[in-house]
């Protein structure tokens, strides 16, 4: 039998004390000392055997026991780690040591050591870190740094970034909606987990920290992780899976479309018409396209989707009536009646049959705000027939017409911008908008139009400015009106502080003029004229003028006994109204041509200085027909063109070649490219095309300024469905009650996707279109059917009725609501496409990244990128 390695008998084998920290070093050689070392590791034998000189006679090095060595190793390891941590965190560049992991690509620009961009602890003393265990939860404070860069909705710290009251109202609405639903197939208790979690939802859930859903420093770019259960824990109507999702009752459309478009009438009527069938779109994406994010489907622009059929409606090209909008009018006024009734409104174009336009009313209101309340009454009056007008109405006409004249006078003298200040003041708009509404009105056109309509406007205004308005002396038709007329006259007299007007109130017609001349003394001619009755002064003035060189041509012209019409027109077209000819303007305006007869009778031989007229008359001396001159002066610039035509005709005759002479188009056709033009005493405007700036400016200017009659009238003119421009025919107007005030908004654009604004729903059309394309390519179904797989047309609907309603949500879509079963076919949990966030956004409202300023900073010879999250 083999000998045992160790005899464990206590007599033979010495007891080994493993709990003692040291044992004899001789043990390894089998020479264990019976004394052994003490607890401090000193050899007792060595101490006992020291000789007199203190030298140890026997060498022995005690060895630490395993237990002691084990503890020693543990402590060394811990002290080493503590030393590394102490050194690491005391070093300036401690941040990489504490960095828990790399940032996602979204925040990679902050770099690896820019902890203080997000964590305020990074800039606090390290001694304060310990106190954070007891203080405010740091994630709440650090979330402010997130919000500094990420503007997330109205109240970023709230659930869905919505105000609390809005959340409450949404919850109540959802509860009410859920209560109406058939809950038979709904699993309201989503799961045990959610039910338990709902019991533990604390106050902090009312303002959840960003880190609840967003985890940085994971090294992943996917920093957002939200589970369906997290959504369900707050939502009172939660469900276990998508099959229990609510049916779509107001999706995708929850309001009428911004652009008025009736799919049914277009698809089933207009596009089938022979004239427009070749212009009709072939499929849905001819008019719709996905936005840049591939999510919402937008309507393609007007040029792509609408212009082929609707452009001419806007420009007025295919209209039989006037193609331009009647913006300003030089109205016909019943001056005869007015004069009979003692109301002198000066001269007004006799040939005009124009009516006051809303813009005329606006001009009157802007210049004389006191008349604003009466403009509706003025608009209702027939200015061309005032025989039945009351004295009050005549008074209104009197003031309004002079105000209108003043307005035209200011426009003639100062251009369209003379109205800017009033527009800005009255309609509370910015100067840019005010300029847009008038900025394109040429001063030349104003001048030409005003000169033609009011050839003696300058004199009238001159007198008015010097002396004030002519006196209003209403002549009562009946006894009943006498008292009213007297009162009005008194009021009118009281309005004018000029003494001369008071004195003239009881005098003959022209006495006021005499007094006025006396007061000024400058206008001798006027004094003389006033001394005579009626128009006799004018006769004399004409007679005197025979000697004047400047007027010789007139004598000659009169000798020819021609029609005076050419003269009238020549005078009207004259651009320069010199002082010398001013009397002539007035004379021409006078309906009586007696002065001219007399002037002709007393005329002398034709003067050589007026050869042009002699030649013109000499061509047909026997029967002087001035039609050529009349024609030449008829249209704005026609004479020059006719001359060119003559030349062109002569050239044709000489060369015997055939040249097509361009036809002179009507003035409104010549303005087909858009712009202002003057026709039939109307200043009209033709839109240059879609989104014409002037039309848009007027609409925007007046859309919420309809409180006065003139503005309403203006709106009705500009916004009429039948008016040139026809904006409102397609662009719907939304009305909202805000603090009791109705605010109107014109939907200039269709539904547009916003890169920054987010609603509760999010649908990726582009990826679905791709799926449909892929599926249809196998089935041989075209793309139209692909869209209609989800958007089934409701052929019985009439969406146009919705625009007669005030409530936006009260509408009937051209398409049926979506069927959720189609979604469920693919969006199943096993496809990983059934997450709530697949179709719904958490943060609602504007989501904008702001406040990041990137720069460069030189540091220790190295260029380093610097970032700032401070909002400027």
């Amino acid at each position: 039998m083999r000998k045992q390695l160790q005899d464990i008998s206590f007599r033979v084998s010495r007891y080994f004390r493993p709990l003692e920290p040291w044992h004899c070093g001789g043990l390894e050689n089998g020479e264990q000392c019976p004394l052994g070392p003490d607890r401090k590791g000193r050899c007792r034998a060595q101490l006992a055997l020291q000789d007199d000189q203190g030298q140890a006679s026997r060498a022995c090095r005690p060895v630490a026991n395993l237990r002691a060595r084990r503890q020693r190793v543990g402590w060394i390891a811990m002290i080493a780690v503590l030393a590394v941590l102490t050194l690491g965190f005391s070093y300036d560049s401690w941040k990489p040591l504490a960095m828990p992991g790399p940032l996602s690509v979204h925040h990679m620009s902050f770099g690896g050591e820019d902890c203080d961009s997000c964590h305020q602890a990074a800039v606090q003393p390290k001694s304060s870190w310990v106190s954070s265990l007891l203080g405010t939860h740091p994630s709440v404070d650090d979330a402010k740094n997130c919000i500094a860069c990420h503007q997330i909705g109205e109240v970023p710290e709230n659930p869905h970034s919505l105000p609390s009251d809005q959340l409450l109202s949404l919850t109540e609405a959802m509860n009410a909606h859920t209560a109406q639903l058939d809950t038979g197939n709904r699993v309201l208790s989503a799961s045990l987990l959610v039910n338990v979690a709902q019991q533990f939802v604390g106050e902090e859930a009312k303002t959840p920290s960003c880190t609840v859903c967003h985890n940085e420093h994971t090294g992943s770019d996917q920093i957002t992780q939200v589970s369906n259960q997290q959504c369900a824990v707050c939502h009172t109507a939660s469900f276990a899976d998508i099959s229990a999702h609510n049916d779509f009752t107001d999706y995708p459309a929850n309001r009428r479309t911004q652009i008025v478009f009736n799919h049914n009438s277009h698809l089933n009527k207009h596009f089938l018409d022979e004239d427009s069938s070749d212009l009709a779109p072939q499929n849905c994406i001819d008019c719709h396209r996905a936005d840049s994010m591939g999510k919402k489907m937008e309507v393609r622009g007007f040029d792509t989707a609408c212009s082929s059929c609707h452009l001419e409606q806007i420009t007025g090209e295919n209209r039989t009536s006037a193609k331009g909008i009647a913006m300003l009018a030089f109205p016909a006024v019943d001056t005869e009646t007015l004069l009979e009734r003692g109301v002198d409104v000066g001269s007004w174009p006799a040939d005009s049959d124009a009516e006051l336009t809303p813009l005329n009313l606006l001009m009157i209101g802007l210049l004389n705000p006191e008349l604003s309340p009466q403009l509706t009454q003025l608009r209702a009056l027939d200015l061309y027939d005032l025989r039945d007008a009351s004295d009050a109405e005549l008074d209104l006409v009197y003031h309004a017409m002079w105000t209108l004249k003043q307005s035209y006078f200011e426009m003639q003298r100062g251009g369209a911008q003379s109205m800017l200040a009033s527009l800005q003041k009255q309609l509370v708009t910015d100067s840019g908008r005010a300029r847009e509404v008038l900025g394109l009105l040429s001063p030349d056109l104003i001048d030409a139009a005003v000169s033609q309509a009011f050839p003696n406007l300058a004199e009238e205004m001159q007198q008015w400015l010097i002396k004030g308005l002519p006196a209003l002396r209403l002549v009562a038709k009946t006894e009943n009106e006498a008292q009213e007329a007297t009162a009005i006259n008194k009021v009118t007299e009281g309005e004018n502080n000029e003494d001369w007007l008071a004195a003239a109130a009881g005098a003959d017609e022209d006495d006021w003029l005499e007094d006025a001349a006396d007061d000024t003394g400058d206008e001798d001619w006027l004094s003389e004229a006033a001394e005579d009755d009626s128009d006799d002064w004018l006769d004399e003035a004409v007679a005197d003028s025979q000697d004047a060189d400047d007027d010789d041509w007139l004598n000659e012209a009169a000798q020819e006994e021609s029609s005076d019409d050419w003269l009238d027109e020549a005078v009207v077209d004259s651009e320069d109204t010199t002082d010398d000819d001013a009397w002539l303007n007035e004379a021409t305006q006078d309906e009586s041509d007696d002065w001219l007869d007399e002037a002709v009778a007393e005329s002398a031989e034709p003067d050589e200085g007026d050869d042009w007229l002699n030649e013109a008359a000499g061509d047909d001396a026997d029967s002087l027909d001035d039609d050529w001159l009349e024609d030449s002066l008829d249209d704005d610039n026609a004479s020059l063109f006719d001359d060119e035509n003559d030349i062109a005709v002569e050239a044709i005759d000489e060369s015997k070649s055939v040249v097509t002479v361009p036809e002179l188009l009507a003035i409104e056709d010549r303005a087909a490219a858009g712009g202002w033009y003057f026709e039939d005493f109307y200043l009209r405007y033709r839109p240059s095309g879609h989104a014409d700036r002037l039309i848009v400016a007027w609409v925007e200017l007046l859309i919420n300024n309809t409180d006065s009659a003139m503005q309403s009238a203006m709106m009705s003119n500009v916004l009429s469905k039948d008016s040139p421009g026809t904006c409102i025919k397609c662009h719907s107007v939304d009305r909202q009650q805000i603090a009791g005030i109705t605010r109107q908004t014109v939907n200039w654009l269709g539904k547009k996707a916003s890169l920054t604004k987010h609603g509760f729903n999010s649908f990726a059309h582009q990826s679905h279109i791709a799926v449909i394309k892929h599926a249809n390519s196998d089935l041989g179904v075209d793309e139209v059917d692909g869209c209609q797989a989800c958007h089934k047309p409701n052929r019985d609907s009439d969406s146009s009725l919705a625009y007669e309603q005030e409530i936006l949500a009260d509408f009937q879509s051209d398409f049926y609501n979506l069927d959720k079963q189609q979604c469920i076919e693919c969006h199943q949990p096993e496809t990983q496409l059934a997450n709530c966030t697949q179709c719904h956004n958490y943060h609602i409202g504007e989501r904008v990244l702001v406040g990041m300023k990137i720069g460069f900073q030189s540091e220790a010879g190295k260029v380093k990128q610097t970032f700032s999250t401070q909002l400027e």
Partner: protein, 274 residues
């Protein structure tokens, strides 16, 4: 064949571990769903578990206090350590950390748990292997016994040389046996197999014996017995050494865990639970 009581104990402990894991994961999910921070909860669960692990070391030092049997504490220590491993992976999202500090913390915790598991395995398997060796020897005295065997071998070889004048045995001793007998040898392969270098030495000794005289052969047989005893000592040295030294590594990983965990909590709360 395990004892039925041990099997029952292990079954109960495993069920408790499973239940704890399920409870932990459910509570962490509840925290996540209730919009709290699930990592905060899992972190505190982990911290609590680590603290419980430290209680075992404290219990061993407080032997005089009536704190229950150490064996029971060891069971708690073992299963809590396994629980820690599970919660740790939930806490980290089953991902390896990226930051230097986090890596250090992870290495420390994972090292502690792995060495603990290895130690647990060895403490369950190596004693049986030691029993199979047949001899009992204190680990600290192995070196002494080894020195005794070496001295005896040298005396035998010298005596044989003096007696026979042949150097065959002395050559074998010098070339092969001296190295084997000079000190205790730790053979890793003994921990998981029946490895022994004795057979190699015996083959060489048998080959040398054919050239030896009868006296030398007698001395060689005695040398072979000494080699067998040395092989037995090496086996003890290896198995007992593993049993005693795994704790070195375990402690080297686990003690630094204390400052690392505390600093981790401070950093996490200071930097917004990021």
């Amino acid at each position: 064949m395990l004892h039925s009581a041990t099997r029952k104990r292990r079954l109960i402990n495993a069920l408790l571990l499973l239940l704890s894991c399920l409870l932990a994961i459910f509570s962490i999910r509840v925290a996540e769903v209730s919009l709290a921070n699930p990592n905060e909860l899992s972190g505190w669960i982990l911290f609590t578990a680590v603290t419980v692990l430290l209680f075992y070391a404290a219990r061993k030092r407080l032997s005089t206090l009536p704190l229950g049997r150490v064996a029971h504490w060891l069971q708690v220590h073992i299963y809590t350590g396994l629980f820690c491993l599970f919660v740790f992976f939930i806490h980290t999202g089953w991902q390896w950390p990226n930051g230097w500090f986090e890596i250090g913390l992870t290495v420390s915790l994972i090292g502690t748990i792995i060495t603990g598991v290895v130690g647990l395995y060895w403490s369950r398997t190596l004693p049986t292997a030691l029993t199979r060796l047949g001899d009992e020897v204190l680990y600290e005295r192995i070196s002494g016994f080894c020195a005794g065997l070496r001295n005896e071998a040298e005396e035998i070889v010298l005596a044989a040389v003096e007696k026979t004048g042949s150097h065959a045995l002395s050559d074998f001793y010098t070339r092969f046996a001296h190295g084997a007998l000079s000190r205790p040898n730790f053979h890793w392969r003994r921990l998981y197999s029946n490895y022994s270098p004795l057979h190699r030495h015996e083959r060489k000794l048998m080959a040398a014996k054919r050239l030896m005289s009868s006296n030398e052969a007698t001395a060689a047989e005695r040398l072979q017995e000494l080699l067998q005893q040395k092989d037995l000592l090496d086996a003890h040295f290896t198995l007992q050494g593993a049993l005693k030294h795994w704790l070195f590594v375990h402690l080297a990983f686990s003690l630094p865990l204390i400052p690392l965990v505390l600093l981790h909590i401070i950093l996490v709360y200071s930097f917004g639970l990021a």
